[in-house]
Symmetry: D2
Subunit: 415 residues, 4 copies
């Protein structure tokens, strides 16, 4: 959205500020933020807010960093003020003393970001601003702290209750679909024809979360294959030569790809909600679906195998899947959680390690990261809650008897 850009609402603003708009952008950030913070009523700082957003959008990385440091250093909390307000609050817990404490304890940059967000279209720009902050500021303590404020506000605004689940189909708008192509992070989509092959057949589904304030931007999406039974090869799932199933005839929904779309929403998680909501909607629409399962990559397996000093058991799929079972159920991070990031995601959601398949992803990426092995995580609706709680309480990993047996055999072989 350019300074004199398109929204109807700007007509008024344009008259209102006359030619001042252009002038605003040339003022220093620090002056603009002072102006925005001293506006008193709702809506009154709109022109200044827009100027800040426009100026930021036109800035280079050095200027952006300077802006972030300004927020981090000049618009942070004053420990002294906090302490004063806290003392007063302790002496008399009134509405007034609590309000003063709230004001003192929240850094003014949070209010600044809220005021920036008044501008129509600003939410998308603030998400992009945080992406810049993560890219430029990482490791600089004051900017890491600033990011906590961004994350705090964005978490509140991108609350699950505000998100809208939308099916993505071959009838979706092209400008959305081109983002699906761009954001697919698991199994790349290399053409519009390949995209159609994932959306149009009767046995394919795709769903994305959107936020009403940025309706042209998917936040996260999941691709689903409807199958008879649990598949053991992603190339098989994606094969355009496969016989296409009638949706009503499928008994299994396979979540074979989940991609986050917005770098600026990093560590604000939607995946768990997305999978549960999609499973809910699918099971309502297609009552024959009995099994909800992923077909997931194992990104850390090959590296672990090498570190742990195992030879790669080429040509021995049984031994390969045994080692994979060992990796998934026993390889841990220092904090006791599984080493594999995809495992952490699904186990954290309450899924369980269900089945392993050798030669399941024979793409270069698949061979390189896990020697072609893939795993099904099972979302068993009757156990997902209890699995989640055990995992959360004691990092206990839920796994099928088949996986348990593989692990035991692999441990014996190792011994």
């Amino acid at each position: 959205m350019s300074l004199l850009g398109g929204l109807l609402s700007t007509v008024f603003e344009r008259r209102y500020r006359g030619d001042k708009g252009a002038g605003q952008v040339s003022r220093p950030f620090a002056d603009l933020t002072v102006d925005l913070m001293r506006t008193t009523g709702e809506g009154t700082g709109m022109a200044v807010a827009r100027a800040i957003l426009d100026k930021f959008a036109a800035s280079d990385d050095d200027e952006k960093l300077a802006f972030f440091r300004h927020l981090a250093e000049d618009l942070t909390i004053s420990p002294e003020d906090v302490r004063t307000a806290l003392d007063a609050y302790e002496q008399g817990q009134t509405k007034a003393s609590y309000r003063k404490f709230m004001t003192a304890a929240e850094p003014p940059r949070q209010e600044l970001i809220r005021r920036l967000n008044q501008v129509p279209g600003a939410t998308r720009q603030l998400v992009a601003m945080r992406a810049d902050l993560l890219r430029l500021g990482r490791g600089e303590a004051a900017l890491d702290a600033l990011d906590l404020d961004f994350r705090h506000l964005l978490s509140s605004w991108f609350n699950r209750g505000f998100l809208v689940l939308m099916p993505i189909t071959w009838e979706s708008p092209a400008h959305i679909l081109e983002k699906i192509i761009a954001y697919e992070a698991v199994h790349a989509i290399d053409s519009w024809g390949a995209l159609r092959a994932r959306l149009e057949p009767a046995d394919r589904r795709c769903f994305a979360f959107f936020h009403p304030a940025m309706p042209d931007e998917p936040l996260i999406f999941v691709e689903v294959a409807l199958t008879g039974g649990i598949p053991g090869s992603v190339q098989g799932v994606l094969s355009e030569d496969r016989p296409v199933l009638e949706a009503e005839g499928a008994d299994t929904a396979v979540f074979y790809s989940i991609s986050n779309c917005q770098a600026g929403l990093a560590s604000i998680s939607f995946g768990n909600s997305l999978i549960k909501q999609v499973a809910a909607d699918l099971s309502t629409a297609l009552p024959n679906l009995k099994t909800f399962v992923t077909l997931s990559p194992i990104p850390g397996f090959a590296a672990w195998l090498q570190e742990a000093g195992y030879d790669v058991p080429e040509g021995d799929p049984a031994r390969l899947t045994g080692l994979t079972a060992l990796y998934l159920t026993t390889a841990k991070r220092p904090d006791g959680l599984p080493r594999d990031p995809v495992a952490r995601f699904h186990l954290g959601n309450g899924a369980e390690v269900h089945r392993l398949h050798a030669n399941a992803d024979v793409s270069p990426k698949g061979m390189q990261q896990s020697h072609g092995v893939m795993v099904n995580y099972l979302y068993d609706l009757s156990r997902v809650s209890q699995n989640h709680e055990r995992y959360a309480a004691s990092s206990e990993i839920a796994a099928s008897p088949e996986i348990r047996a593989l692990t035991i055999a692999a441990e014996k072989a190792k011994a």
Copy 2:
């Protein structure tokens, strides 16, 4: 939304929790909030959150008060923890120490409210919850403080950037229109026929703000008459016998009624934004519109007249409007702002006192509150910003030469 209510998303949940749902609601609030606060990941506390909302909706006033006091007392800040975290932060301003401070300085009830808001449809319930809090808790210090937390979160969620302006027409859904009838607070609408008379004619407009998370609930709406020149009687404006103007032929847009709809959003103001946005949209659609003006009640005039010991100048409209000018421009609250609440609203927006009309609202309510006098506040787009700033800085009241002259004459007469 009932416990086993209608949203698709609940199908999964229902399976997930089995019969536990009903059981949840019978547990004490304090147990449920503990459960909700210890959930670890996104989405995992959905069933507990829903149980709390359902239990609250089914509670009587005593139970609601008990719930509010639980939030106010058990889920508030710990000054000691804040002080410890603040000390640590001062000694080393790291990401970790800042995060600990943020956590300590924010009362856990804010996080609780955010988690409640994950449930689809929860936003409307939280707004209603705050309406209950305002009704039941006013004057109790801890509950007044709790309200600041509600207000803080709702202000952030009902940020101008998230609101959607929608025209309300005779083609709008009936369940929205019945709310317009119910919420009209200035000039009552007593039937569907009267509603149609305010929406359907070519010289009428109505607009409302909505929030995407509660799309069936208008937040605030304004009714507009398109006229030739500035009208001086609301009965004239509303007369169904008037000749109806072609919209393209009007030169003036009269905002003759603005009504807030949500008690639970009290003191979260949208009116300024609404008027400006509507003026913007109208001036784009109808370029002949040159004047944007209200026709407003003067709710405090009669009371002030009595308090100040004036006789009511019956049958002397000139002297009556002189006293009204005196009231609007000189009667102040202790804080220096105008005594009249409608005046405070429009002057705060940057409007100016423009013209007075005797016999302008001869309804019983109009006669009783202001002896029939009404006022036009003018939104002059070239001056609204500067008016606002002067009012904000020094409580200076913008008024037309006509009003100034009336005031001077009234002051002379008084002397």
Copy 3:
């Protein structure tokens, strides 16, 4: 739509014809129709077509009649031309000779009406024009013939394949709902509150057919009550005090009111399709529904009773329903079809006379037309096709054993 009215498309037209528009309307109909008929290409006669429609809309009944007679007399077939074209066609059946025959055998007024229909919004005006024709022209042979042309074209344009079924709910636009109130022909709706009571409860449904070219006008609508079992009183069905059923818990859908909305579409029937489509949609959405049944008035019963010389069996409901069974299954028109018009409609659709209820409509209208008796026609999906065929082939009336027994008893009593 006024002559210089609102559609975007008219902007071009307005420039195109300059001030000629107003002049057009003042020309005689006969000149305008000549002009319209000699236009050569697609779209070129738009301005003339619009002038004819506008002139007609502004005409009084005498002028309308004169216009209809002009169409009937001046734009009819020429038997001589038909005969010549037919001879030529018989001598050589070529594309050219067939085309000439087609042209000669179709009265030019059909082409005129098609050209009028090019104007955006014209379809609604042509439907209104036919309503005028039926009102003014009935019994005048040439105008009756003209009506056959209107009906021929409207039947083709309002083909089932072009109609759209829409649910009517309390969330429907008010300008549609006010038409539902106005058009309800069976059980009057006397207020918006009464309308809401038929739309909003969980056990109520309403559906209407619309045509895309007149989206603001319902063509026909049906009101449905979802019940447990077959109800025997329309006051019971409509009672606002009844316990409201969850839709999923109902086993029966009762079509208790069907109303045609457009006088100009008389004898172009949609009711059969509407009932079947609604039954289809309901049985998909609510699989527990097993019975599809009407609760219908018997408008001709009281008159027949009187003509046939029966005493009204006051206070003897059994004898009353016996006579009703006799009436419905044996009283015939000269053409052998049932005398009762509602019976003809439902039996023609393949329904069967299922059950009779005394004291089922105790409104003044119900008492007056049928002494309070009402009837259920049953749409049994497994028999509806065969019922229809027998009725069509031999006027055979399908009835339940209960109705058959009642009839036999009544015949015996009579004998």
Copy 4:
């Protein structure tokens, strides 16, 4: 749509006909048409109609031809019956005698096609059926006659008043956009990237007509470039390197490509309406647009040059455009209309030959058909009506002074 296909409405039908559906399709066409023609009420023949459509869709060309011949020979008019009905009508012009004549004079296959059209989705299938008829039947007199019936009905159903103009943008559904790629007939679109370049930039527009009964199928579309001044090269217009204009800054709208999409709607013309409607909408939205002009190919020029024995004046653009002017304004068909088909289209709409450009289409196709010359036809809103009338009355070709001068010079040079 398969026999047991997806529409909700079929649920009822499916129950209704049980397993008879599959059986229906195996019966001969002649039996099915007899069944369909003897159905009596609205909607009752739906299952048979669907069977005919399904059977046709599954037929090979020989079977399709046999079906068409069946319609042409067995469901045609009976001259004897027409003559009898005509005689009766002449003896007494009553409603009944007129109705009999109407019935006799219309071949029963028209009623058959109308009944087929009752099936949801049938319109698209009937359009495809006519495409088959045109492909298979051309030159066979009885099938040419049958096509007149198809065309008669489709003309009535695809009446301008029923069409909906929709903008085609990069936000349109992908399944519509892939049809734009497929149907583009003037300047091929070879990738999704090339499509985006014609839709997304601020100085590009595209519009299509749709029919509500086949909403996924564009009927005709036009591509527009917004420019400053009249461009003289289509490669220039399409260049992705050009500076993109703000739409508000353009003074000229260039219709550089118009494509019909439906072979089955051949000779049912929409282009004139489309251009006029688009010009109307654009001039409303962008008041600065003053000139509406095409940049058109001249498909017959090169062939005419060769036939007429001219040398191609390579390297002499002035002489080349002189000959083009001569061709466009003087080369005629036997019927006196211009030889060039694109010229006939635009001149018939009331446009005028405005300007010629050498080297304006240097693609292989452009060089081959017209040695790279292109022409602007101007739609001057003040003259389009009068141009059309003169062209229709006397084949008079409107041309600019520049074109007239070129023609005179070329004629002199020739002499």
